[in-house]
Symmetry: C2
Subunit: 747 residues, 2 copies
């Protein structure tokens, strides 16, 4: 084994050291007066209360899933019970990523508010430092976890040291458990956090702003603490777990495909080079991100957005240049090939460039569709003059239209990266795009921290200029949130395709033919999953928001002096409503995502499951873009009224009828952009990973040792229509399968 492998976890440790040092710096900043620390304490307590409740449920889930994985792992020669360890470590790391983000965010928010009393640049420094702690922490955990576990499993399962044999297949299959753990926790964090934050937000707005006529973040509103907690559990912890999962899944899928790459000439890593490359790029990406992070500076009155963009572009360019060096150093000079497509090292670099290009274009397009002053948002503003309904119609149309360019970019990216280096190229494109995850996440996490800082400034009744400074940061944060979502969707799409390709290899299938009726049916069912998933998430927000509305109305009615500011609202009751709703409502969508591929895979075989995955991915990407961008556009259409908008020659401001209509649009968009939309990313990744994990167990047994055990393919006759094409390894719950078949046959 090459000693260079140890550099990967070492870089992860380096990132974590940065995280620790920087977090210490943030904690040492001034946290402001007593009122500020009290309020920040409420928010931090609410956030921890939610995380504790969530992790309890997830611990139970981990035990059940772990038991199932243990069974799977111990009954197949292609896997191992050790996969449970990988799974649990992945889950714990993902939870830890969320926890780190939440901790630092709830420290940085109040310190940013305090810093904003001094200047914009110190406020940016504190809030962006908070974001960078989160970004480097997530990336560091991912690289450390994957890198270290790979070394362990390589030593454990590959005594021969052969890079592309059966043993390595097993080692990588076990490593998939790490990704499964990460992505499962991510799903629950995203969905639960998304429901939490929007139930609180919608509930607080409907009663506070609309009914009682008090401003946002007013301390008299009982739901306001829950609303601020929501920013942390949804936008910070949810996004962190999401990108942690994407990062891990992308690297892993590339490694799995790397095992299939045939080397025309020997490399200097004992044949490991195509597997080592994605880990090396990820480790290098930490350094590239750090360079970008250190370049983010702004003077008083300067352009915050410009400073962030500069840092981002620097890290992208550094990462591209370093990738070139890494690829040329790691891959051998001669020809390589995967599944009949031949390529060389230069082509792999082209694929990285495609990935970086796709990520950048996606962010730019997303910004166009959601930014103030651009045609899409302006059209919604105009339509708000004719009422609530036309505002909603306008936003829906913008959201649907916003899918066109990203899909064309994505399709071109798939085709180009495939032509560059086959399926390995598609995976490497995703890996290249994800290399700067730490930087992306730093920018993303900075937004909710600034948002929270503004809330704390409002609730603590700080001077007006403080709120103005945090508002500048918050406005930038809204844009970065939108572009970050564009990046997250693109990365999820490419990651899913890489996983899809890895799944096909592990399940030993060459084609997934949609002219086959069963596969086509799988495609239909798969494409439907994002719709039911979104429906459940949206409806959950609606229900929880109604409960919140009723609680807030009750407090306004029953607590004496609450509107005069003399009675203290029962914040904790609202926090409890959001927490309980989020925990309760995340179960069903999570179960659908986890169980569907298992059921379809074992009952109908890997090809139908492949059709299902294709359907989920295609429809999930579209629904993610539609919902996220519609929500972002509505949000900024509403914000446009703060400075006033010109409609039919008349300036309209906050409080006008048109503004009220725009608030309706924004409220409709809330669950779209912060609950169901971003959950799509994890949905499509998680279903692909589950499929990859069960792939050895449902593999087509074409001539393999289990071939005789598989039932002969039945002629597709009507009488046998209800006979599921059960594909399972000889040892897997055969009694249960027999039972199921008997029940279905009624023979």
């Amino acid at each position: 084994m090459t000693p260079y492998l140890y550099a990967v976890p070492a870089l992860g440790v380096f990132a974590l050291i940065y995280t620790w040092v920087r977090a210490g710096w943030v904690a040492r900043q001034d946290a402001g007066n007593e009122r500020m620390t009290t309020i920040a304490g409420y928010i931090a307590d609410g956030a921890i209360a939610f995380l504790t409740a969530e992790y309890k449920v997830l611990g139970l889930f981990g035990l059940i899933a772990g038991a199932f994985l243990f069974y799977l792992g111990s009954t197949s020669g292609n896997s191992s019970p050790v996969i449970v360890i990988a799974f649990l470590i992945g889950g714990v790391f993902s939870a830890l990523a969320g926890f780190i983000g939440m901790k630092i965010a709830t420290k940085a928010n109040v310190r940013t508010a305090q810093a904003a009393r001094t200047s914009l640049s110190t406020a940016l420094n504190v809030s962006f430092s908070g974001g960078s702690v989160m970004g480097m922490g997530v990336a560091g955990l991912a690289v450390l976890g994957l890198g270290a576990l790979f070394i362990v499993f390589y030593k454990m399962f590959v005594p021969s040291g052969l890079a592309n044999g059966q043993e390595m297949e097993k080692a990588l299959e076990v490593l998939t458990g790490f990704s499964l753990g990460a992505e499962s926790i991510a799903l629950f964090a995203r969905v639960g956090g998304g429901i939490y934050t929007k139930a609180a937000d919608v509930g607080a707005d409907l009663v506070g702003k609309v009914e009682a006529g008090i401003p946002e973040d007013d301390p008299r509103n009982p739901a306001t603490i829950a609303d601020n907690v929501g920013d942390n559990v949804g936008d910070v912890a949810g996004m962190g777990a999401d990108l942690f999962g994407s990062y891990v899944a992308t690297i892993l899928a590339t490694m799995v495909l790397g095992r299939e790459v045939q080397l025309g000439s020997a490399d200097q890593f004992g044949g490991l080079s195509p597997i080592f490359l994605p880990m090396a790029i990820a480790g290098m990406g930490i350094l590239a991100s750090l360079v970008g992070i250190l370049c983010v500076r702004v003077k008083e009155g300067g352009n915050v957005q410009g400073a962030l963009n500069l840092g981002n572009y620097i890290s992208v360019v550094v990462s591209a240049a370093a990738s070139y060096g890494l690829i040329m150093w790691i891959l051998p000079a001669g020809a390589l090939a995967i599944r009949g497509v031949s390529f060389d090292a230069m082509h792999v670099f082209y694929a990285v460039l495609v990935g970086l290009g796709v990520g950048t274009l996606m962010s730019i397009i997303t910004e166009y569709y959601t930014a103030m002053g651009k045609r899409p948002v302006l059209s919604i503003v105009q339509q708000s003059s004719t009422g609530h309904a036309t505002t909603v119609i306008g936003g829906l149309a913008v959201g649907m239209e916003s899918t066109v360019l990203p899909i064309l970019v994505l399709a071109a990216g798939i085709v180009l990266s495939f032509r560059a280096a086959g399926l390995y190229g598609v995976a490497i494109a995703a890996a290249g795009m994800m290399a700067t995850t730490a930087m992306q996440l730093a920018i993303d996490a900075f937004g909710p921290i600034a948002d929270n800082a503004g809330g704390i400034a409002e609730m603590s009744e700080l001077p007006k200029e403080v709120r103005e400074r945090t508002d500048v940061l918050d406005a930038v944060g809204n844009t970065t949130a939108a572009t970050g979502k564009g990046f997250a969707i693109a990365s999820a799409a490419l990651t899913s395709l890489a996983l899809f390709a890895a799944f096909m290899g592990t399940a030993h299938i060459d084609t997934i033919d949609i002219s086959n009726a069963d596969v086509l049916a799988g495609l239909f069912v798969g494409a439907m999953i994002p719709f039911i998933f979104s429906a459940l998430a949206i409806a959950a927000v609606g229900r929880a928001a109604m409960a919140m509305v009723q609680e807030v109305r009750r407090q306004f009615r029953e607590i004496p002096g609450i509107m005069e500011g003399t009675g203290r609202p029962e914040y904790e009751k609202c926090v409890a409503i959001s927490t309980n709703a989020a925990i309760r409502e995340m179960i069903l969508p999570g179960a659908i995502a986890l169980l569907t591929p298992i059921v379809i895979g074992f009952l109908f075989g890997p090809k139908v499951l492949g059709g299902l995955l294709a359907g989920v991915t295609v429809s999930g990407v579209l629904m993610a873009m539609f919902q996220s961008n519609a929500g972002g556009a509505w949000d900024n259409a509403k914000k446009s009224f703060e400075k006033g908008v010109l409609i039919d020659g008349v300036m309209q401001y906050k409080g006008s009828e048109a503004h009220k209509a725009s608030v309706t649009g924004d409220t409709v968009g809330d669950p779209f952009k912060d609950t169901s939309g971003p959950s799509m990313n994890i949905l499509i990744k998680l279903m692909s990973i589950v499929s990859l994990v069960i792939a050895p167990h449902i593999a087509e047994h074409a001539g393999g040792p289990g071939a005789s055990a598989a039932p002969a393919p039945a002629p597709p006759r009507f009488e046998q229509a209800f006979r599921p094409r059960v594909r399972y390894s000889e040892t897997l719950v055969p009694a249960a399968a027999r039972l199921l078949r008997t029940a279905l046959h009624r023979e």
Copy 2:
């Protein structure tokens, strides 16, 4: 040639004679007093004005498309310039179907209003007679056109009389032109009509009901005539052209697949039996529908919905029984096979049963999701108590959720009908489902007639009990409209699959493998088309409605005495706004539907086109269900307030805040359920038909005569990424293709 073939067009003529006789009966009914005839005259004139304007544009389109088809037909040995004739006849027949429906609807509406002065049963008799004229007319035209043209082309192109040779392939390819003509006109009729009706409806409601506070259909509202015209051009003419297109496409696709069926033993039709069968089922379906139509009767105070359901079930059962007889008589007793799947006559009958089952289940499920008093609509009603936004959120969630069961039914239908008789089984299932189209359409068209009758009664200030009777009919019409949409979506989905299968045969491809990067990119792009198509349609409604709002506001302001009823509103200006908007805005979505498959097919070949079609179909079906059902549910949530609803223990009625929120939901749903949602059906069918028409020109030349002309498949290398895989028959615009390739290569 078997003389039984002549029975098919004969049954078409029979249906048209019924249409003519029954239309005469309707025309002889009392049209009421002068005010009624005046108002009905406005509506009829507006409808004809729209049709005239629309057909002018479509005539121009027909000339251009005809020229392109002539070129295609005259440059390929597998087609013929005669296809232009078929195309034009198809277009004219489709326009005629819309025209017949419009004519009878604008006659039946006022006569229904007059009949409602006497009794509910006579009103139902008149309005349902109008519907049956439309249903039988559409079915008659379809069966006559397809049946007669098949005989002509059979004699013209198949001198050998061989049922499954190259000659027959050419004859059927030419016949595809008929379907292309029908479906193109249908698309424009659906989209144009949908934009027309909703621009008028939304515009009339926003200013009339909301701003001026006058009731629906009040004659003082300048947009009210346009609104009533819209019911005819959208719901009647649009739905008629839609189902005419589905009917023709289904039969045709089954015939194309029938040519591929291998007979184990001789039949009595010279080998024609699998091609003849779908036409025979369609002809028989006319008789079965007639039986059902004649059974629809209701007594005063009786159950109108029950009467319609009874008639429908009778025609389904008659059609199933008669199908059994036809199949056993027409198909030979021995084994049959298509593409490696063997089956016999009984299995074909099973496939018909699957089709009938899918259609029935789809209608039932759709009714559940959109009917008053059921959980989905009740949940929206409850959410309307917390405002506009939660009402919209609730409806969106219901719409998304409503895709689950229909997709599972559809997937099961695909799998079962395929297992019954391969791809021929899938097509036959669609044909069986469509057999009772005449009856379905009679039920569908009755709704807008009753709706119009209510409008005329209101505008003519007829006694209150008249409006109450028409309201009973209208309420039933709302439910049948929803279930009719469920049926239309199911039929479009199965039809598209049949066309998809036919396309693969004609393009000589066996598999469409989504693990191929190009195909996968096609799948993504295809799935995006329904989103941009919906976005364009919805945005068009929004824009046109705003123009309508401004015109109505202007008239209220400038015409003296308009609100007192002494000044006459300028109805024709509103009619002109809707007409112009509809014509202008239908062009771009129509062009996308028509041109995308051509561009993709010629540039990237049949397999990528196959991926595109799969994407369009899957995403189109989901978007159709989501939008139609959300719209239907919002509509009935709003209607629930008319009788009062119980929210949190308080009865709420029209005029309450909750009711206003429900009106917002309904208005958002209007373009969903009547413009973009139903257009999806035609979109997916039309793109499949265009692909089928160009299939011989982009066919894979595996060993065919043109094999040497096709460029050798290039290795998928990055440097060649921008080289389109141009696939075209040797003679097709080679100069243009060279030009294009040169431009793209820049070599």
